[in-house]
Symmetry: C2
Subunit: 662 residues, 2 copies
């Protein structure tokens, strides 16, 4: 029905950006960043308008304001600093600057129209209006201006006073906002702490950290390994599930259906007589041991990430306490988790469609808060794409309302739109298809989608080079050279990446025809020889050092691909917005063949002239070249060094004209 509006909002405000799905989902940013907002703002006629960016932290009633500037073609831009780790609400307002509009008209008429007395009376009325709206020193000053205006001996003097910029500023600060209009909705931005974007993960099975052959590792054993892990340069230590493991239908080695005595079972089969999701597996230690370990991780400059897997074994306390949370079959039995025709007989799936769904939601929140209160602020969530999306949206928001510093990594290896919606629903970081992108073309396409489409607003990738479930074919087949260049790709393309332990050993034994590890840690206790020949621990250490030292690698959407004359050699760069840090990365994605290739260095983009000298400093092997022009040749032998990371340093000319590299 066409109804008369209650208030006349005549300034059109549309296409506010960023905005995701008509405002349905929040965008994401990092604390401390400036948040840039643009909008189309315009109005009928010729009035001068003001655009205002409004913002507040969620739950706060008072808007703060930041003026917007006209860019071109009715597009306006504004910005504010995201100072707090919380959600902000933002929107755009606009109004007619009446006095400014009047000044513009007067200026145009001045010298063309003879008698401007009527116009001057209009302006005078506006100054009077501003006086009634103001108080204190401004009011006094405005009154003085009005007196001067009235006392002016002739029209020309009066016009000079009327058009004075100081008067205009004063009136502008106190005039009523004519035709005040607001954008049709309020939008949200989630502001996370830095770790949400920039993180290097290291994944372990705590039980494999033992030092005595045949005996499982404990939290204490894990503690002993912390210096080595930290030394490699990781900041997040991610533990596969640490909860009591079920005994009924326990899986045996290499995923066999029957376990042998002593087999520890899959850590994802959660729940035994020792407890469920809020307990620890006794073989790892006590809750006290866990607390000690957690603090020790922090003391080593890292953070702990726990695995959050909503699985329950037939032995889980939930089964007795809440049989209504599980799907019962007509014969009274509880339904196993399944992906027909496969059955997972060691696991019952919680039934998110049971009548008691809300109780399950609340219990999951309780479990997370239990660990958050013990100091765990990062969760890697197992298989989120098998639970309802609205559940995650509610759960993550519930936790972050009280604990905005808690981060969630979505382990959704699934269809593209499901991966995206989980990120929109609130997951801080997401697993990706990186693991399976092996050609230069695929990598450029995928990274362009991640960094240049609206995915950049909400989807923060975490590039894992492998996981306990996925030993990619290229690593199985090509070995060490592939382990090296896949590491460089993960660590430099994405600000967040991770390795699953044994990657540093170039462990590549798979069950033939699958991506499963041979003798997988998922089903047995392993003992790794961390000094095994061929390891790439030093290489990882160098790459992580480069990541830390170069702020351009802490960002993601600054990724740009450049020209390399080979279909195997990927060439890309990142720089900080102020260009004080520029890295260029070259990777030979063919692990079998040496490629010698011409790179086109985009010197124009960096403000380097075609005759200027600049320096390329290769950071992995630490050599330097002085270069002039766009052409640069490089030879990448995968057996020696499949990748190069150059810091590009411009020559800065100082007053005294010494040559010098910044």
């Amino acid at each position: 029905m066409a109804t008369l509006p209650k208030i006349l909002q005549t300034v059109v405000i549309e296409h506010v950006a960023p905005e995701l799905d008509g405002g349905r989902y929040p965008v994401k940013r990092i604390m401390g960043e400036a948040f840039d907002v643009t909008a189309d703002i315009f109005k009928e006629g010729h009035d001068t308008i003001a655009g205002i960016l409004r913002y507040k932290t969620e739950g706060n009633n008072a808007w703060q304001e930041s003026p917007m500037q006209h860019v071109d073609n009715d597009r306006w831009a504004g910005s504010f600093v995201l100072a707090e780790n919380t959600r902000y609400v933002y929107t755009v307002g606009a109004y007619v600057k009446s006095f400014e509009t009047w000044r513009k008209e007067l200026t145009k008429k001045h010298g063309v129209v003879e008698d401007l007395s009527s116009e001057l009376l209009e302006g005078e009325a506006q100054v009077k209006e501003a006086i009634t709206q103001s108080k204190g020193p401004d009011k006094s000053e405005l009154k003085l201006w009005l007196d001067k205006w009235k006392a002016a001996p002739n029209q020309d003097t009066r016009i000079t006073i009327a058009l004075d910029d100081i008067l205009a500023t004063l009136v502008g600060q106190h005039e009523k906002r004519a035709a005040w209009s607001t954008y049709m909705q309020e939008l949200t931005v989630i502001v996370d702490r830095e770790r949400a974007r920039f993180s290097a993960w290291y994944e372990i099975f705590p039980r494999s950290e033992g030092t005595v052959e045949g005996q499982g590792g404990t939290f204490k054993d894990c503690e002993a390994r912390l210096p080595v892990i930290r030394e490699m340069g990781f900041d997040v230590l991610y533990l596969t599930p640490i909860h009591p493991i079920g005994e009924t239908n326990r899986k045996g080695r290499n995923n066999s259906l029957k376990s042998q005595p002593g087999d520890p079972g899959s850590p994802w089969a959660i729940g035994s007589r020792h407890g469920g999701h809020d307990a620890v597996e006794p073989a790892l230690g006590t809750m006290k041991d866990f607390d000690h370990f957690q603090k020790s991780v922090r003391n080593h400059g890292m953070e702990l990430a726990l695995d959050f897997a909503i699985n329950a074994t037939p032995d889980h306390p939930y089964v007795n306490q809440h049989p209504e949370w599980f799907k019962q079959r007509p014969d009274g039995s509880i339904k196993y988790a399944e992906n027909p025709p496969k059955k997972y007989e060691d696991i019952y799936a919680l039934d998110f469609y049971s009548e008691a769904w809300a109780d399950i939601w609340q219990e999951m929140k309780r479990v997370l808060l239990f660990w958050v209160e013990r100091g765990v602020k990062i969760f890697r969530v197992d298989n989120p794409h098998t639970k309802p999306v609205p559940f995650w949206e509610w759960l993550i928001r519930s936790i972050q309302e009280a604990h905005p510093d808690v981060l969630f990594l979505s382990e959704a290896f699934t269809r593209p739109k499901m991966m995206r919606i989980l990120a929109k629903a609130g997951f801080t970081q997401s697993y990706t298809y990186f693991t399976w992108r092996n050609s230069k073309k695929e990598m450029i396409e995928y990274l362009t989608e991640l960094t240049q489409t609206d995915m950049k607003e909400f989807f923060r990738p975490n590039f894992f080079t492998s996981t306990p479930d996925i030993l990619p074919e290229i690593l199985q087949q090509a070995g060490r050279p592939a382990f090296k260049f896949r590491l460089v790709l993960a660590a430099t393309l994405s600000p967040s990446y991770g390795i699953y332990n044994s990657y540093e050993l170039c462990e590549n034994r798979a069950i033939p025809g699958t991506e499963e590890y041979q003798d997988s840690e998922k089903y047995e206790i392993r003992h790794w020889d961390w000094d095994r020949p061929g390891h790439i621990r030093n290489y990882i250490t160098i790459v992580n050092q480069i990541r830390r030292n170069n702020p351009c690698l802490h960002l993601f959407t600054n990724l740009r691909f450049y020209q390399a004359d080979s279909e195997h050699v990927l060439f890309y760069g990142k720089m900080t917005p102020d260009q004080s840090n520029i890295l260029l990365v070259v990777v030979n994605m063919d692990p079998y063949t040496t490629h010698e290739v011409r790179l086109s260095i985009p010197i124009e983009e960096f403000g380097i002239g075609e005759h200027d000298t600049y320096q390329l400093h290769e950071l992995i092997q630490d050599y330097r070249h002085q270069v002039v022009g766009t052409e640069y040749w490089i030879r990448l032998d995968p057996q020696k060094e499949p990748a190069a990371i150059f810091a590009l340093r411009k020559r800065v000319r100082r007053e005294n004209d010494f040559d010098y590299f910044q």
Copy 2:
């Protein structure tokens, strides 16, 4: 605040298309068309889901439904017919097809899992559920199936029954819609009558239709001209304002500030002692004459369009009746319309920011309804970009609620975003930048924007070749060849186009350095010699005939540009979706030089093989060629014929194998 949802809607439905600005504005379509809607629909897990397109006419409570089909990558598509000239509301729903999901699981397990008795019990429960939901013959039939199922002698027979497609269809029709979910909002489509998209306009000043030198024309004179205008092939006859013209500060010939006795004044200076917007200028006749004329236009197979210009002269009845509708200056005088430093002293602008704005809105609605009730269903709105956008949104909706067949053409020659928002706010058709697009490159860019971006959802161009305000430079300078090819461009690029009378005479005398006509009809009575040498009336007649006979020209977004090896020659085509009507248009946009050019006929697009013969039938000059392959050469001499319009006819092979062109 994170709050538990009241209902668990777990199917994700997003990116519904078409959707404009997050649903803020309606899209537009034509009555009788199929309306195609797509959406991303998916859910956690492996359930089989159904997508449902829901729709209803606005104000109606009952949803109608149309099933959607999965296309690929979780994208679904559906469609329904827009049967009525009204607004429709549409949205998307989805649910889990429980029985189908169960069948899929059973199929996967069958032959792999030995004992399926528990699974079969689950299915049986679903059939029972469907029985309770159904009635009549379906209920009886379902009961028979259940009996058969239960009586089955063994598991294999029971599975065969359970997987029967007829049973599946029956259960599917009556099962509960599990996890029923709906898109977050309802969207709107305005469904107009055909004339909204396909129309050929002819614009006249009624007072110039007189046949006695020195004497103004009347509605009766206009009536006498109807056969000629119809003969040329136009369907909309658009009259510049017909209301009483003010006398105070009346403009004289060629826009001079002082009029001479006998000068008729500008028709846009509305209002005199004879009345305002709901009266007719006495010099044109009486209201009765108008009514007679209006009916006569219909009897000639055309429709009348009136000009709606919200201007009031100092003599308008509003000035006395509603002084509060005008902006009063501090000295008590009413403010003239102005565009500083220019003043329009024959016009007062209504003040849409007065306290009484709502009264002005209502009065404008009353005025429009006054004419609608007299049979006028098309309005060309003067300068809408100088009135508030929300006013138009309300006004057009108010009128169309009672009279959905009323069409509005926006005369907004202004900034791009204002032109767009007016179309989004409800204008049926819009003036465009066509008039100033003179190069091939510009034309391709502009038409691509109009037909391939989201503008196609709401912006229906009306390509006027000239208007009383705009005699484009190219027509002034290049004369007849330009008049011919600009006509072909307007008439074939856009399904709606118009000419302002005297175009057929190639009238090109301008006030030097401006786009204003010399001796403009805006300020004086003209008498045209319609048979003046050099006229292109026959040419216009042919082009309009081609438009009528070729349904592909009734559409807009079917426009495609093709390769012509010249920067001056534009080559494009349109076809109906079933390819039964294909036109190719070639225009030499250089009015001074003959160009001979190679065209690349996109035969592949039309399903023509490289060795197939097809026919090109040129419709302006009526010649035919048999062609094989993609290459076709044409020579366009602007002095002879600057454009060619080809009907492409494929050779159809029949059983008896006679060669024949469809």
